[in-house]
């Protein structure tokens, strides 16, 4: 099969598509495009959900790296020195400590059990973007005492009766209101609500934060310990690198990256997504393969006589086979291009208008590699679907083709 033969095969294929049934060609391109979009949509949406969950966990739960107490210990001790060490290490943007204490919150007739988390507001701002999520009032200041910020869920909605609430709340607290907090150690204090935040992440919106200084008052002395430390890595440094550094410097043996924690926390969810994605991918490939197989089979069956004639006048069967092969390649290429365009437009639309659920907002997480790999898979399926009937019909005896 020389260059000249391939050129003639392409010439015949291109002419056939350009001057043949336009509706059939457009319909085939549309089907391939839709199959591609279908292949890419669900997996990238799941990937988007996964990314949203990961971002929320990083932002509101564990940062890029979580440092827990040494095995068998309840707290990270010698906190200031530990923080100084962590903050001086390469790849660490900032570390922030957390200390939580169980408490009962009271507001008018409502009583709510919760845990109050102490933070260092300036450090916390470098690690968690809660300060950007204030829907009323303002974030905590470094020296604030007697002030608390609470999540939207704890604040509650005054129009919803307590018995109808999915999550218990204080029934409509507003900024400036005073709530009474009774800590587990018996310490009781009225706090003025300085701000209310809404992150969209349930456990975060179900939390209440006070300053480190306030918690020291609760504990009755200097608080040089933390339950855990979260930290943000500098751009260009991997979480794994920072984790390894922390372990090697002996900060703690209990250091976890986000991915370590995610694989434990939502690993099964992501696995389920992967299975659904695989099923979706297989179904899409089968549909595309069958559609293209049918299209080319019908085309070749309708052209059997013409194929016989072409062979009679000296056109080699390889040229005839590649003619139909090229037709499929062209149709698949245009279909994939349409599919890529649709997928990118859809991804663009969902990035501005994500599908919002109570737990997360879903957008399409699409990488160039996703587009390339799916294009190649679909392209390969299309070639198989096109070449099989083309091969069969090109091998038929001239006489039986011409009699068709």
């Amino acid at each position: 099969m020389g260059k000249k033969e391939l050129k003639v095969a392409f010439f015949l294929a291109w002419r056939s598509l350009r001057r043949g049934s336009r509706s059939s060609a457009i319909l085939t391109i549309l089907i391939v495009g839709m199959c591609f979009t279908n292949m890419i949509f669900l997996p990238s949406l799941f990937a988007g959900i996964g990314q949203t969950i990961k971002t929320q966990i990083v932002d509101y739960e564990v940062g890029n790296v979580l440092v827990s107490p040494q095995a068998g210990e309840q707290y990270i001790t010698d906190l200031d020195a530990t923080l100084d060490l962590i903050n001086s290490m390469p790849g660490v943007e900032r570390a922030t400590p957390h200390y939580a204490k169980g408490a009962t919150l009271k507001y008018r007739q409502r009583i709510l059990g919760s845990s109050i988390r102490a933070i260092r507001p300036t450090d916390e701002k470098s690690v968690s973007p809660i300060y950007e999520k204030m829907i009323a009032g303002s974030y905590l200041g470094e020296g604030d005492t007697g002030e608390i910020i609470i999540g939207k869920i704890i604040a509650g909605d005054p129009t919803i009766p307590a018995e109808e609430e999915f999550y218990s709340s204080l029934g409509g607290v507003r900024v400036g209101d005073s709530i009474t907090v009774e800590f587990g150690n018996g310490y009781t204090k009225d706090y003025r609500v300085k701000g209310i935040f809404s992150t969209g992440w349930t456990s975060s919106d179900n939390s209440a934060l006070i300053t480190w200084s306030d918690m020291e008052l609760v504990e009755g002395g200097s608080l040089d310990k933390a339950e855990y430390i979260t930290l943000k890595t500098k751009p260009g440094y991997s979480e794994k690198f920072v984790k390894d550094e922390l372990v090697s410097y002996g900060v703690s043996s209990q250091v976890h990256t986000t991915d370590d924690l995610l694989s434990k926390a939502i690993g099964s969810v992501l696995q389920s997504f992967d299975i659904i994605n695989m099923v979706s991918l297989i179904v899409s490939i089968i549909i595309t393969t069958v559609v293209l197989f049918i299209v080319i089979t019908i085309k070749t069956i309708n052209s059997r006589k013409q194929i016989g004639i072409l062979r009679a006048i000296g056109v080699d069967k390889e040229v005839i086979m590649h003619n139909y092969g090229f037709q499929v390649i062209i149709l698949a290429t245009f279909g994939i291009m349409l599919g890529v365009t649709l997928a990118v437009l859809l991804a663009l639309y969902l990035s501005y208008h994500p599908i919002v659920t109570p737990e997360w907002s879903a957008y399409m997480y699409l990488t160039p590699m996703d587009l390339v790999s799916n294009s190649l898979i679909l392209f390969a399926a299309a070639i198989v679907a096109g070449y099989v009937p083309a091969y069969q019909v090109s091998r038929e005896e001239i006489q039986s083709s011409m009699r068709a």
Partner: protein, 228 residues
């Protein structure tokens, strides 16, 4: 140019064997315009298909231009058809998505010994000869039956074949167009010294043939030089 010895073709129709060709011996020389005639089912088209390498005989020998074609494999037969033979079919058999010029060029495009300039020049020359230069960019659906058959003839001779086979080329044409096509064959045969083997069942075509081979039940029953 064409020689066949004891050519036989047996078709199996269910349990019944049909002798389409039953021991044909034939020699056709260069430049002859031969008409193969006979009633339906006499084996005319079968003989043409055997000689044109479109079908395989059950037994017998065919020698074209000194080559025993039984020794050729499938690809070699294809190349033999491309380089040495030309075909005109009853139903024109053009590629509907190609223009007149593209249909005519198609066999020439595949020849490794022709450049693009050469096959385009050959196409223009042939189209001029068949009187279709002004229709070169038209599609099959825009042509009359006679024009379509002239395109088919142009396609068949664009490669300057040694032998031109025509299988009832006037079957779908009216008398006027048939005359035009036969006149064209006559002109090609005369001017280009083209060997032509044509199947026909119309008696009035006889006047064009140098020689008529009449078949019945797969056998040659008459072979004369019936010049009008």
């Amino acid at each position: 140019m064409i020689e066949c010895r004891d050519l036989r073709k047996l078709y199996q129709m269910g349990n019944v064997g049909v002798r389409a060709l039953d021991g044909i011996d034939l020699t056709i020389g260069k430049g002859e315009f031969v008409g193969i005639m006979g009633p339906s089912g006499s084996g005319k088209s079968t003989l043409l298909h055997m000689l044109g390498l479109l079908d395989i005989p059950t037994s017998g020998e065919i020698t074209l231009d000194g080559i025993d074609v039984n020794t050729l494999n499938d690809y070699q037969k294809t190349m033999f058809r491309l380089y040495k033979l030309g075909y005109v079919f009853q139903d024109y058999a053009l590629v509907p998505e190609l223009t007149v010029a593209e249909n005519v060029s198609l066999p020439a495009m595949l020849r490794s010994d022709r450049t693009e300039e050469e096959f385009q020049a050959a196409t223009e020359d042939i189209l001029q000869r068949v009187g279709l230069s002004d229709r070169r960019d038209h599609l099959q659906k825009e042509l009359s039956g006679g024009e379509q058959q002239r395109v088919a003839i142009a396609r068949a001779i664009v490669n300057r074949p040694d032998i031109l086979f025509a299988d009832e080329p006037c079957a779908n044409l009216d008398t006027e167009n048939s005359t035009m096509v036969l006149d064209l064959f006559d002109e090609i045969n005369h001017d280009m010294h083209q060997t032509i083997v044509m199947v026909s069942h119309e008696d009035w075509h006889k006047k064009y043939f140098h020689r008529i081979i009449r078949l019945r039940d797969g056998k040659i029953v008459e072979d004369n030089h019936a010049l009008s």
